[in-house]
Structure formats: structure tokens, C-alpha cells
């Protein structure tokens, strides 16, 4: 295209901008698909309001015009896109509050849960994966491996329920109010979700470590008498990390589904619970807004992870599709 000298830093810039462009286009497709899928599948959004008596037969046409629902679908789509770019996700059909406002109110709780779960998942995954790889054949390794297998296979819903049972059995009934309400309320759901996402992470760490332990420079370091310890471990771990980073991005997709389930099981306020209730009640603008947000976040994190991986290991620059 442009006559840049073919130097590594320019290649990097091109790769990164390609990623960004791809991300934006993907985001656009996602938004479009969500919009049309909901509209076409759902039919007339005013029908439910009408039947509840929240609007009358006289009002209905007026409101239809007010909400812009009388325009052809394509025009509505254009308007939707332009408001989206301004951060306006529409209004709830029932409470008429701005969807962005509603989502904004529920967002902190969900982010709290998702990030804690991610953190716990990473820590747990690294611990489990390392145990499995480092001490091969020992009881610890076998346990660690079965643990990671279990973590991958158990559906989040079931893990949550088992978590509740376990904690109540452990403490002989659920713990009383000891004043650390918000931490305690977060700890169990985050651990459940974290445990579930730790499974794949542990696997990747395990296989990555197994490979890098055999690498010549590690063996050489040990031979030279540099004792096992944090430094050595870090050197062994580093090559295993890039796949973990891209895995973490993929985990974001899993986490979205997972937070919905966890919020329902533990009755935590947040976007997951809001999504379910808006679907069941037919409040489409809210459902649409949440799904779009989730998809955009996922795309963003996916591409961000690719960029990060490229930065850490420049050899991956030219890999586009796995």
C-alpha cells in the first residue's frame, strides 16, 4: 500500500491498525445483527404495553410516532446507529428511563463480579496448572489435573449450587452478618465463577509449562546451579503466558454467560439478572442494550488480547486466524 520501509516497527503498526479496523467492523456487524434479530423476531414492541393498559388505543399511534416506530425499519436502524454513537441506547418500554442510565446503574456490580472472577480464575489456574506440570506424577499433580478437568466440565449453575451447599455445610448454616457484607457477598459468587474459568487456564498453563520445562535454557540454568525458585519459575512460565492471554480474552465470552448465571443463582444485582428479567418481560430496549454492550466488550477484549499477545511475543504478529 504505502511505501513504508519494511521495518519491524512499521509492521507492528500495520498489524495493530488492522486489528483495530477489524474490531470496529466486527462491532458494527454485531450491533446490526442484534438490532435486526430482535426487531424481526419480536414484532410490535407496543403490543405488550397496550395490553397492560399502560397506553390506550387512542395514544398508541401517537406514541408509535413519538418513539419513531412508524418509520421503515431501515430508517429506524439509521437512527439507532446514530444514537448509539452518542451513547444513547433508547428508553425502557416500561419505565421510560434511559437504557444507558439503567445499565450504568447495574454495571458496577457485574464488573465487580467479573473482574474478581477473572482474577481468582487466573490465580487458581496458575496454581493448579503449575502443580500439575511441576511435580509430574505426584499425588498433587493428579489431583490438580482432575481438578482442572472438573472445573472445565462442571456447568457454572451447578458449581454455584454446590458452592452454596458446601459453604453452608462448612459453617453449619450460612454465616451470620459479620459486617463484611459486601466482601462476603462477592467472595462466594466470584470464587464459583473463578473456579469455572480456572479450568481451561490451568490446562494451558500446564501444557505450556511442560513444554518449557524441557527447554534447553531451563535445563542449563538448573545445571549451572541456579536453584529452583521464583526466578526460574518465572522464566519457565513466560513462554507459556501468551496463550493464556488470548485464552483470557476468550474467557471473556464465557464470563458473560457465567455472570448471568451466577447473578441469578446468588441473586446478585447486575446486568445478568437485568437481562433475564427484561427478556422475560419483553422490555426489548434493555435486552438489546445489554447484549450490544456485552458483544462490544467481548470484541474489544478479544482484539486487545491479540494486540497484547503480539507485543509480548512478536512472532505472533502475522497470525490472523487460528
Amino acid at each position: 500500500m504505502v511505501p513504508f520501509p519494511d521495518r519491524p516497527q512499521y509492521r507492528a503498526i500495520v498489524a495493530v491498525s488492522q486489528r483495530i479496523l477489524d474490531g470496529l467492523l466486527t462491532a458494527w456487524v454485531t450491533v446490526t445483527f442484534t438490532f435486526f434479530a430482535l426487531r424481526i423476531a419480536a414484532g410490535d414492541p407496543l403490543a405488550s404495553l397496550l395490553s397492560q393498559g399502560l397506553i390506550t388505543h387512542e395514544n398508541v399511534e401517537q406514541i408509535r410516532i413519538q418513539l419513531g416506530l412508524d418509520q421503515p425499519l431501515l430508517t429506524q436502524y439509521m437512527q439507532f446507529l446514530s444514537s448509539l454513537l452518542h451513547g444513547d441506547l433508547g428508553k425502557s418500554l416500561y419505565t421510560k428511563r434511559s437504557v444507558s442510565q439503567i445499565i450504568f446503574e447495574q454495571l458496577p456490580s457485574t464488573i465487580e463480579l467479573a473482574l474478581s472472577a477473572l482474577l481468582i480464575g487466573l490465580i487458581l489456574g496458575i496454581i493448579i496448572g503449575t502443580t500439575a506440570a511441576w511435580k509430574r506424577g505426584s499425588l498433587g499433580a493428579i489431583l490438580a489435573e482432575s481438578l482442572s478437568g472438573l472445573a472445565t466440565a462442571l456447568p457454572v449453575a451447578f458449581t454455584g449450587i454446590l458452592g452454596i451447599l458446601f459453604v453452608s455445610w462448612l459453617i453449619g448454616g450460612l454465616p451470620g452478618n459479620i459486617g463484611l457484607s459486601s466482601v462476603k457477598n462477592l467472595l462466594l459468587p466470584a470464587s464459583v465463577l473463578g473456579f469455572a474459568s480456572a479450568g481451561p487456564i490451568a490446562r494451558v498453563i500446564q501444557s505450556g509449562l511442560e513444554e518449557s520445562i524441557q527447554k534447553p535454557y531451563i535445563l542449563a540454568a538448573r545445571a549451572r546451579g541456579i536453584s529452583g525458585g521464583l526466578r526460574l519459575f518465572w522464566h519457565a512460565l513466560r513462554p507459556a503466558l501468551p496463550p493464556v492471554i488470548s485464552l483470557t480474552a476468550l474467557q471473556a465470552a464465557f464470563l458473560f454467560g457465567g455472570t448471568v448465571i451466577t447473578e441469578v443463582v446468588f441473586s446478585r444485582p447486575g446486568l445478568g439478572r437485568l437481562l433475564i428479567s427484561s427478556i422475560l418481560q419483553g422490555d426489548f430496549p434493555i435486552a438489546q442494550g445489554i447484549v450490544i454492550l456485552a458483544a462490544l466488550l467481548y470484541t474489544f477484549s478479544h482484539h486487545l488480547a491479540d494486540i497484547l499477545a503480539m507485543v509480548i511475543d512478536p512472532r505472533l504478529e502475522n497470525e490472523h486466524e487460528k
Binding site: 397492560q52 446503574e105 450460612l174 452478618n177 422475560l280 418481560q281
Partner: protein, 530 residues
């Protein structure tokens, strides 16, 4: 290495200090706080506009009403109105209002304020779902002087005082109503009650704070001033989480606790069970008389006979709910036990269908007419264990030989939508209330909630006369007796159980009392025993 470790130490120190400060802050204030669990998240919480009972739990203490009803004997006592007179013909009610009341925002309470409230409720653009219906045939509200107001009806209306005693007709500050308008006002509610409305985040929490200026408590409140400084409400729509929230200490009080959990918690010394009988309609199903085969009264009777109502009540509700025997529950004014519903008789039910031309096919286990099974569609709302009742109804009718499908409507809106489609044979709906006139909107031909679709001028006139005989209780009872008989003979409803709200509170919470409607706690009377 040295610089690194000192940075670490500094960081840890800071963390410790901030923890100490945080915990210090907690012990500083000896604020008394109660967390109360709500079980439904209504789509709107303006009592003048929305119909949900749940909103009344917090809001009954934010507003005062013109009159209050004594929950022990049903008498009406002065509230914001010191005294009132009713004209002999029952058309006009005149109220003398207190002159020492102010709203939470400082506005003075007067007759004009009351008028503004009524106008706000009756404004057709505001689409009030309950309050406007509760005013009945209200024709005109006249401000006679600064603290006297009269209500003129177009015909006598017995339940007027009952309506005026409920949160839906609580008096709000006209300044706030005008400032915020119907969609936003629900987030900035201003009344005259013992608690002030602080904040509401939908589906998350609602906060009330004690009103220190409250000096006009009606005699039905045991305390003159609220004891608890702050009451926080949180939402627990999922029944499975309610007992968990109690046990984990997240909340102190919650209602609608599932019966088995309630039984278990009641045995613990940490909790106290308050079973509150809710007057009004029982948990019941309306048959759709406009949709075959339930358009045939014999079919309806057979469907009732095929249900073992005692079994259902006991299985799902344990010892806590009496079986319902009519369109009103036993704790409601006007209830009569003289018109019981058909007993459980499975064989009789089956033979009724056979007499009507359906043959029982052993192989398929179904009743068939010309090879086609009989299809029944049940629709239930999600609250009050309705889905469980629906499942047992489905099981019983399937056993009879019908082909049954069950739909759970996830909210009042979808429930109403299902009704509008007309595609149901039995639908679960019930309202609460202390006056039997609530039956009118369910059984009158043009009633807003006439979900049985039954049209009968005889029933209509009985209902009208019952409400117009507003001043003679015996006369009213006679009318209602006839109404109950008609409803039973026409098998318009399948009554299941009288509503009993199972409220569980932590043992150190004292003073928990409920209004005559059963749902609404008198928050002013709550105290925490140290």
C-alpha cells in the same frame, strides 16, 4: 533490593491504616438500620399510578392518608382528616383536615393539596392503574376552605373510606408532583409520613429515613415517632434466595417466604414467623367462559371436581393456608361459608365428560371426541407459588384425560397479554383488599378484570346494588350472598387457597404489625431489641 522492600512495607502500612479507619467509621454511628426484603420489582412505584402491592410495603410509611383503618376491628379512624361527615343519601363526604401537618419538603398540607392529588390520579394521561379505580364514581372534589374539602359522588359508593385509607390515595406534596411529573415523581416521592423517601434504584434498593418532624401519628400506630433511623429495602424476586438472604444476615425481614423454608426458620430461635392472613380474593383460577370447552358450565364443574384442592393446598402450602371456598377469602369482610365448591370426585368428573360425548381411550390415556383430545391451556403468574399450583392442576387434568399446557407469565404485563389473546381456559389472578366491592371489577360484564368473560345482567345489578347500599352492612351481605351463590353455580372460578403471607423477621426485631390489607407493615412501630 532495599528500596523495593521498603515500598512494600509502606504499602502494607497504608492498607492497615485504611482498614482501621474504615472499621472505626462503622462503630462511630450507632444508627439503627433495618434491611427489609421485597419480593417483586414493580415496573413503577408511584402508588397513585401503579397497582403493585409490593410498593406499599415501603411507601405506606412515606404517606399519610385522610383516614386510617384499625387492623383489629376494621373501624376507620382520623388521619390527615380530623373528622368527617357523610350526607344522608351517601353522595357527599366532607372532611375537616388537620392544620398542623407539613410535607417532607416543607410544603404546608391543606385542602388544595388533597385536590391536587386527586387531579393527579384522575388525569387520563397518567393512566393510573389502581388509585383511579379505587375512587369509584367520584364526580367532584371541592375545596371549601383551607382545611375543609368535600368529595361528591354520582352514586353511593361503600368502599370510599376504605380506598382513602390506603397508600394508593396517600397524600403527596403538590409541589413535588408538579415539579417531577408522572414518570419521574416515583424517584422523588414526598409525603407527610413517619419516614422520608431517600432513594430508589430499580431492582437494586430503596432507602427510607426517619422523619424527625412527624407529629401527627394516627391512633392506630403504637409509636408516635419512628424508632429505626433508616430502613433499606432490597429485592428478592427469586423465592429460592429469600431464606438464604435471611440466614446469611443480608436482610432482617422478608415476606412471601416459601412454606417449607418458613417452617424451618420458624423453629430456629434466631427468627420469628408472622403468618398474616391477607383479606381479599384467594389464590384462584378464572375459567374462560368464552372459549370452548370451558364455555360449558358442566365442563367447568367437572374440572373443579377433578381437583383435590385440599391436597394441593397441603402439598404446596403445608399447614399455613386454609382451602378457599369462594371468591373471597375467609378473613375478608362479606365472606360467607354457605356456598362451598364441589368436592373432589375424580370418577364423577370423568363420567361428566363421558356423558358429554368424550370417550376415554385407555391406550392413550386421553378423553377423545372424534379422535381429538380435549385441550386445556392454563396461564399462571409467577408470584405466590402460582406456578406450583399450576403444575398440580396440570397433573390432575392430565390424569383425567385432557391435554394440558401450562404457561408461566413472568410479570403482570405478560399475564395481561396472555389474557388479551384469549387463548386460555384457566388463568390465575387475584387481588387483595378489605372491601368485597373489589369483586365488581372481576365479575361485572364490563369489569376491567373480568377474565372469565362472563356476561350476566343479573350479576351486574347485584354487584351494583351491593356497593350502593353503602351504609347498611346487612343489606350488603345479603347481596353478596346471592353473588357468591351465582358465581358458584356457574363455576366461574376454581378457588384454591386463602392467601397467607409468611413473614419472617429476625428475633430481635420487635413491633412488627401489619395494616388491615395484610401486606403493609407499620414501619413506625418497629424497634430492635439490643
Amino acid at each position: 533490593m532495599k528500596p523495593k522492600s521498603s515500598k512494600h512495607i509502606l504499602f502494607i502500612l497504608l492498607l492497615l491504616i485504611s482498614c482501621m479507619i474504615a472499621s472505626c467509621k462503622n462503630t462511630d454511628q450507632q444508627k439503627q438500620v433495618i434491611t427489609y426484603g421485597l419480593t417483586l420489582a414493580p415496573s413503577g412505584i408511584d402508588p397513585h399510578i401503579n397497582a403493585s402491592a409490593e410498593l406499599g410495603i415501603p411507601l405506606s410509611s412515606v404517606y399519610d392518608t385522610l383516614v386510617f383503618q384499625n387492623p383489629e376491628n376494621g373501624e376507620f379512624v382520623p388521619g390527615l382528616a380530623e373528622r368527617w361527615t357523610i350526607s344522608d343519601d351517601g353522595f357527599t363526604y366532607t372532611f375537616s383536615l388537620r392544620d398542623d401537618v407539613t410535607f417532607h419538603d416543607g410544603t404546608a398540607f391543606d385542602a388544595q393539596a388533597v385536590k391536587t392529588n386527586i387531579e393527579y390520579i384522575l388525569d387520563p394521561d397518567h393512566v393510573s392503574q389502581k388509585a383511579s379505580l379505587m375512587l369509584g364514581p367520584l364526580e367532584d372534589v371541592k375545596v371549601i376552605d383551607s382545611h375543609t374539602i368535600s368529595f361528591r359522588l354520582s352514586e353511593p359508593f361503600a368502599p370510599l373510606l376504605d380506598s382513602l385509607a390506603q397508600v394508593y390515595l396517600g397524600i403527596a406534596s403538590p409541589t413535588a408532583l408538579e415539579k417531577w411529573g408522572p414518570s419521574e415523581y416515583q424517584f422523588h416521592q414526598v409525603g407527610t409520613g413517619p419516614y422520608r423517601f431517600i432513594e430508589y434504584i430499580p431492582n437494586d434498593h430503596l432507602t427510607l429515613e426517619r422523619n424527625p418532624d412527624y407529629a401527627w401519628a394516627p391512633e392506630i400506630y403504637k409509636n408516635d415517632q419512628a424508632q429505626i433511623d433508616e430502613i433499606r429495602f432490597r429485592f428478592f424476586e427469586d423465592p429460592a434466595t429469600r431464606s438464604l438472604a435471611l440466614e446469611s444476615g443480608e436482610i432482617d425481614i422478608i415476606g412471601e417466604v416459601p412454606p417449607y423454608d418458613a417452617a424451618r426458620l420458624a423453629e430456629s430461635e434466631n427468627f420469628q414467623l408472622y403468618p398474616v392472613a391477607i383479606p381479599g380474593q384467594p389464590l384462584q383460577f378464572f375459567f374462560n367462559t368464552q372459549n370452548p370447552p370451558t364455555d360449558n358450565v358442566q365442563v367447568r364443574l367437572a374440572l373443579i371436581q377433578a381437583i383435590d384442592r385440599a391436597f394441593i393446598t397441603e402439598t404446596i402450602f403445608g399447614i399455613y393456608s386454609p382451602v378457599a371456598e369462594g371468591p373471597l377469602s375467609a378473613s375478608t369482610l362479606g365472606y360467607s361459608s354457605n356456598y362451598p365448591y364441589p368436592d373432589y370426585d375424580f370418577d364423577q368428573a370423568r363420567s361428566t365428560f363421558q356423558n358429554l360425548g368424550w370417550e376415554y381411550d385407555e391406550g392413550r390415556g386421553q378423553l377423545l371426541k372424534e379422535g381429538q383430545p380435549l385441550q386445556i391451556q392454563i396461564v399462571v403468574p409467577t408470584w405466590g407459588s402460582n406456578p406450583e399450583v399450576g403444575q398440580l392442576l396440570e397433573a390432575a387434568w392430565e390424569k383425567l384425560g385432557l391435554e394440558v399446557s401450562l404457561e408461566v407469565a413472568p410479570g403482570f404485563g405478560p399475564l395481561k397479554q396472555a389474557h388479551d389473546s384469549g387463548n386460555y381456559h384457566a388463568i390465575g389472578i387475584n387481588f387483595f383488599g378489605t372491601d368485597p366491592d373489589q369483586l365488581r371489577s372481576f365479575f361485572r360484564s364490563d369489569g376491567f378484570y373480568n377474565w372469565s368473560g362472563y356476561q350476566d345482567p343479573v350479576l351486574d345489578s347485584l354487584l351494583d346494588q351491593a356497593v350502593q347500599a353503602s351504609l347498611d352492612l346487612n343489606k350488603r351481605q345479603a347481596y353478596y350472598d346471592q353473588i357468591f351463590e351465582l358465581i358458584r353455580n356457574e363455576a366461574l372460578i376454581l378457588p384454591i387457597r386463602d392467601y397467607v403471607n409468611l413473614v419472617i423477621a429476625r428475633s430481635n426485631i420487635k413491633g412488627l404489625r401489619f395494616s388491615s390489607q395484610g401486606w403493609f407493615p407499620f414501619l413506625i412501630d418497629l424497634s430492635i431489641e439490643p
